[in-house]
Symmetry: C2
């Protein structure tokens, strides 16, 4: 995610430094960042460092780590952050801003990210769908931020209900990520299988019930059928996609399940809303991770 | 299962013919059936054939195929079955007798099987726990049957509530089999993980609700806590076991999930009882099977 959005900004002429692991930094320093997007293919020269102190002096910081690394990264980043810096969380889940604030007192802005991209090898970004952002609420900082993204050809919308936008993305993630991982199937198989659709519908209904109890307004999803239809639309549009949870699991890496079905399960328990299927998906992924 | 119980009967002196696939038959004809049980280790000479016609003239037929093969096997067996033959279903699930009757008009007796055994290679049975049966209801046929088993050192109890006994075993199977398979864990990990226990409790509660709606009396499980405690007792006693569903899945074979969580889900739907977690476990296993 960082490679894709940072790469587009560098391609548009912004002075960008990528912070990543050593194999990524070595690859980028050798051959530039390879962007293979739906609109552009080529190498983009860009600064790269594996040292978080490289964030010094940055006006804008795109916070794109896995949610499992939120606290550790925020704490390591804080000492180098300029007071005027804008930190934007480009992550899955609805509580990253709260986690980053709790860990290091950094006041980040949330962004909802819709992009299908993957790093096939370090420094090589393959983009296969969408690539747009939602930020909010409307204020000087978010207006400026949206302008910067748009100048780099990244569609960015401002919402006055950013919480609802984050939860909307959470619904799609809860509906599809763990099912794709545990069932070992691409999104298209979920959409075409009646039992899988029935299961996803229960997952979606549970997330909607938790959102309602948390007083979240979901833009355009007032009708529960609209939420299920939205999940199936994404599954059909991205029929060949395997979820990021599946990709993490297949590589033996920790997943973001704590921020997805795990979050819904925990929040549901706090609010007295029953979420047996979200809890089941969460638990099965955790059992595999621990195995 | 057939190797274990048939092997014990042959070891006790009964004239036994094993019907199985060619590698099994070849192994048994070469070296006898290798029984490695908690009480006995050695080779047992026994007849073996890969041809179902070998059932001709048998007084007692132990029906031990996977439940997915019920209909096909019953139909293939029927023409060779002596009219006086007693067929006993030694299988997981509660509807095997009905399936065998529907497929081939064979009137089988149900047995509930408690045994931990596996075939490490064809013709080699490794037994690691229990090995007892429940048959019923009490009548001349079941009394005679129990006597035959007991003579072969196979503990066998007669129950007047065999339906309740079958459902009791179904609860254990629904609680542990798919979770072990999908979570890729042995039973012990399920018992020691709080989230897994919570998930299993929901599974058990759903099966109990379906049983209640189906007017099944579960012996000794009138208290829902007793059912969960029973599942956890089995998980602890068999801490090192991986479920048969997990073993099938890991070998890329069809599982018996249709007869376990799948059965509960279908029966629940018929009876108007909601079973979201059983349906989820069933659906995830089916997605993997189809993948």
């Amino acid at each position: 995610m960082g490679g894709y959005f940072g790469g587009l900004m560098a391609h548009a002429g912004a002075p960008v430094t990528m912070i990543g692991r050593k194999p990524f930094v070595d690859a980028v320093q050798n051959a530039g960042l390879i962007l293979d997007t739906l609109h552009f293919r080529g190498s983009v020269p860009v600064g790269a460092s594996s040292d978080l102190s490289a964030v010094r002096g940055a006006d804008l910081v795109l916070f794109c780590v896995k949610t499992t690394d939120n606290a550790a990264t925020a704490r390591a980043l804080a000492p180098f952050l300029a007071p005027r810096a804008t930190v934007v969380s480009l992550q899955n889940g609805v509580d990253n801003v709260a986690q980053i604030r709790a860990a290091a007192n950094i006041d980040a802005l949330p962004a909802v990210v819709y992009v299908a991209a993957s790093a096939q090898q370090p420094g090589h970004v393959k983009h296969v769908g969408r690539g747009d952002l939602v930020v909010g609420p409307e204020c000087d900082r978010t207006k400026q931020l949206a302008e910067i993204f748009i100048r780099a050809n990244i569609p960015c919308r401002i919402s006055d209900n950013i919480e609802g936008e984050l939860w909307t993305k959470l619904i799609w993630n809860c509906a599809l990520n763990a099912v794709s991982a545990l069932g070992q199937v691409k999104y298209g198989r979920i959409a075409e299988n009646a039992d899988a659709r029935k299961m996803v519908e229960t997952v979606v209904d549970e997330v909607l019930a938790v959102a309602r109890a948390a007083h979240i307004i979901l833009p355009g999803l007032e009708d529960p059928k609209a939420a299920m239809a939205g999940a199936m639309k994404i599954a059909t549009q991205m029929a060949e996609a395997l979820s990021s949870t599946a990709q993490d699991m297949n590589r033996g890496r920790r997943t973001e399940i704590d921020s997805l079905n795990g979050y819904v399960s925990r929040r549901g328990a706090e609010l007295g809303v029953s979420t047996p299927v979200n809890h089941t998906l969460f638990t099965l992924v955790k059992l595999i991770e621990g195995g």
